[in-house]
């Protein structure tokens, strides 16, 4: 056996961990914080009790929202009597088969009955249950379980789980990227440890996080971002260890032109409007009573000691100035840190030797792709995701004109789930309508200037291959 006691610690839930709550097909990403109320499937719960338990454990939701570890695995207990019908010719659906009313069921819930017990009550009070076929009974129980089972499982986040969660809960935030499409992207772009990947995404950080997971903290990721700052909420949900973030850089695309012109330094030093505003509000804070984090003592004291010594007044003024200076110093340090980071990211880009490019955003992909391709080495893959087909047709066409890329493929994937049960196997009734489109390709060395190559381009290539030697 390769496992030992030390490993156990790695599998225990700790405070501060990012986890995913699961019930059936519903997932939700939350952080374990003490006394924090979390809403999951229309129920309020407190996660305090899961700390110290193992990932994968299932908990029952007690009334009041606390969680209790499920001690026995409630297996599919078959109904006590094996009485079942053969078909539904005599079953009339008049809505009156169930004797328990909605209020009755609420009362049972309040009494603290577990999901399994409520289902048993429903079966006993159903006039038609014993007339249903075995399969129909099975289906009935499954349906009630989904409705009344009061459990939640705590899982460690992975790309698979988070991709399914986002697609199910908030597809708009991820440009309707379906999880199998994301899977294709990660493989087609050959994402692996110890490579350098450029990412441009507006998928709440899901794509970035997935890439980081596949790099395992080795290598470099440079996130190009539009606007003021990179969106990374999704990345946090992965719960990466701190050292993963050392591989992550970010670069604003609004500085791309400056970078390529070689004047990034001067450009970056100019304070932007955002900075000016925060300067002002900080000063206002100093003046407003109570807004000062160090307490409002100087203001109060000022009011109380109107007739105090000038010396005391001077002292207060000096303290205030010191605080202002400290704040200005803090700001300076932050500004320098910001520039240092920008320079570090720029350095990663300057070599124009990235190993992969992934684009997945709400922006028109064509200008983004054509602009960022030049940062890749030759013979490296790139993948562009778009919710719609036409923008990728444009990318394809422009790339073919400009050259520098081969093996261009425009694809989408068709995903179908199956129900697999004895004598009841068939595809599921509902299917995902679409998961977006991908354009993938490989870079090649750029064409040397016209006139220098003596060889002629051959006619369009044919499919047949001659026998070759290795």
């Amino acid at each position: 056996m390769a496992d030992n006691g030390d490993d156990e610690d790695h599998y225990r839930i700790k405070e501060g961990d990012y986890v995913v709550l699961k019930r059936g097909d519903i997932y939700k990403s939350v952080q374990i914080l003490p006394k924090k109320k979390v809403i999951f499937e229309k129920q309020w719960i407190f996660l305090d009790n899961v700390v110290g338990c193992l990932y994968g454990n299932t908990f029952e939701i007690r009334s009041g929202g606390g969680l209790q570890l499920q001690n026995t695995k409630t297996t599919e207990s078959p109904p006590d009597s094996k009485v079942a019908g053969t078909d539904n010719r005599n079953i009339i659906d008049d809505g009156k088969s169930q004797k328990l009313t909605k209020d009755d069921i609420e009362k049972l819930k309040d009494q603290g009955l577990k999901g399994q017990e409520i289902i048993q009550q429903l079966i006993e009070n159903s006039a038609t249950f014993s007339n249903k076929t075995e399969y129909a009974q099975d289906k009935y129980i499954k349906k009630k379980k989904k409705k009344y089972e009061n459990t939640v499982t705590v899982l460690r986040p992975t790309c698979r789980i988070l991709a399914m969660m986002y697609h199910g809960r908030e597809p708009g935030k991820i440009c309707h990227l379906r999880y199998d499409t994301l899977a294709q992207m990660l493989t087609l772009a050959n994402i692996h440890a110890n490579s350098k990947v450029l990412v441009f995404e507006t998928c709440a950080g899901l794509v970035l996080g997935s890439i980081m997971e596949r790099m395992g903290g080795h290598g470099t990721v440079v996130q190009m971002f539009p606007g003021g700052g990179p969106v990374r909420a999704g990345v946090e949900s992965f719960g990466f260890p701190a050292h993963f973030y050392e591989t992550l850089h970010e670069f604003p695309i609004c500085h791309l032109n400056a970078l390529e012109a070689g004047i990034l330094d001067t450009f970056a030093k100019a304070p932007d409007a955002g900075e000016k505003e925060s300067n002002m509000t900080a000063e206002e804070e100093d003046v407003l009573p109570g807004a000062d984090p160090q307490g409002d003592s100087p203001e109060e004291q000022r009011m109380e000691t109107v007739s105090a010594d000038d010396k005391v007044q001077d002292q207060k003024k000096q303290e205030e100035e010191k605080r202002r200076e400290a704040k200005a110093q803090e700001k300076k340090v932050k500004q320098e840190e910001k520039q240092r980071k920008l320079a570090a990211a720029a350095a990663r880009l300057d070599g124009r030797n990235a190993d992969g490019l992934v684009i997945a955003s709400r922006f028109h992909p064509c200008p983004v792709l054509l602009r960022l391709l030049r940062f890749l080495s030759p013979s490296r893959p790139f993948v562009v995701y778009s919710q719609y087909l036409e923008p990728l047709i444009e990318c394809y066409t422009k790339l073919k004109e400009q050259g520098g890329a081969v093996s261009l493929k425009l694809t989408d994937t068709w995903l179908r789930h199956y129900q697999v049960l004895p004598n009841r196997t068939h595809p599921r009734l509902l299917m995902s309508g679409g998961g977006g489109y991908l354009l993938s390709g490989t870079t090649v060395a750029p064409e040397p200037p016209a006139g220098s190559t003596p060889s002629e381009e051959p006619a369009p290539k044919r499919q047949k291959l001659k026998a070759t030697e290795g």
């Binding site: 496992d3 110890n194 395992g216 893959p381 989408d412 994937t413 199956y418 697999v420 490989t442």
Partner: protein
């Protein structure tokens, strides 16, 4: 060069991929003094390949040109010599994500087959993971081991020539994920469970036939696996084309008064007879089925 790490320049004993055109690639073992025949002419390794940058254009003896690409598992999948039916990138990508594979993962696989999936797994689990792959056909097992060596990934993989249904994967309690692509996967479920870590792990079984899927799902349930889920994923390709659509001719415009010498007058400037549109078309035929993918989770035991 290796299949798990990029390099810039082609060197002796590298495996490189020659790109001949759309959907046409072939692998090449780079060797001083060697030559490779292509339909565009001969490629001389010493002058045309060694020392050149990956991604370069190479002009062959007949004047045609090709590109030399750095190998990746995806290029290998479409260029490798088939010893068995292989898994293609669409299924491989889905499997990789659904098994939660990443650097450091320990994976057990059977059968190795032609090594298409194996190379993709190795790329994903490098540099700290390991692949235990089992193949019951001796020559195929040997060929796979040889290729792993040539592709500089043998430190990440152990090939075992045995029957997984009888003898398992050769390891116990170490795997994060199991992959089965064998005729009777239900016979290997017990061994899969034993190979997985005590803390739990993921499993995938690939089967072309629905009967196999049913038997496997039953075996998984019996052995305590959870979240059993079967799906299939198909790739749809869109070929970009400029298409010319002719416009119908409804006759000359009859709404205005006819001029007396209208017959003599030159015909009005010809309006467009067709419109060009840039669109995509599906290929005539596409793969409609490869296999069903059944995933499951082994809970902590």
């Amino acid at each position: 060069m290796s299949f798990v790490e990029y390099s810039e320049v082609i060197q002796d004993s590298d495996v490189a991929i020659i790109y001949l055109g759309h959907n046409s690639v072939m692998p090449v073992k780079v060797q001083h003094g060697a030559q490779t025949q292509t339909r565009y002419g001969v490629i001389r390794h010493s002058s045309d390949l060694i020392g050149q940058r990956y991604g370069s254009k190479v002009t062959c003896s007949k004047g045609g040109w090709v590109y030399v690409l750095h190998p990746t598992p995806e290029l290998w999948t479409v260029s490798l010599p088939h010893r068995t039916q292989i898994l293609y990138t669409t299924d491989i990508a889905t499997i990789t994500m659904m098994l939660d594979l990443k650097p450091g993962s320990v994976v057990c696989e059977s059968g190795t087959g032609s090594g298409s999936l194996s190379h993709a797994i190795l790329r994903t689990i490098a540099p700290t993971g390991h692949l235990h792959t089992v193949e019951f056909h001796q020559q195929r097992a040997e060929k796979a081991a040889e290729e792993f060596r040539e592709h500089r990934v043998s430190h990440l993989v152990t090939v075992r020539n045995q029957d997984v249904c009888k003898d398992g994967f050769g390891v116990m309690g170490v795997a994060d994920a199991i992959f089965l692509d064998i005729p009777s996967p239900w016979e290997a479920v017990g061994h899969a469970k034993a190979a997985l870590k005590k803390h739990g792990g993921r499993l995938c079984s690939f089967s072309p036939c629905i009967e196999q899927v049913q038997k496997t799902a039953e075996a998984l349930t019996d052995h305590g696996f959870e979240e059993i889920n079967t799906l299939e994923v198909l790739l749809r390709v869109h070929d970009v084309r400029t298409v010319s659509l002719p416009l119908p001719d409804f006759g000359p415009d009859c709404s205005a008064h006819p001029e007396p010498d209208a017959m003599e007058a030159p015909p009005p400037a010809p309006s467009q007879t067709s419109i060009n549109i840039k669109t995509t078309t599906p290929p005539r035929e596409l793969p409609g089925h490869t296999g069903y993918l059944t995933f499951a989770t082994k809970p902590r035991t």
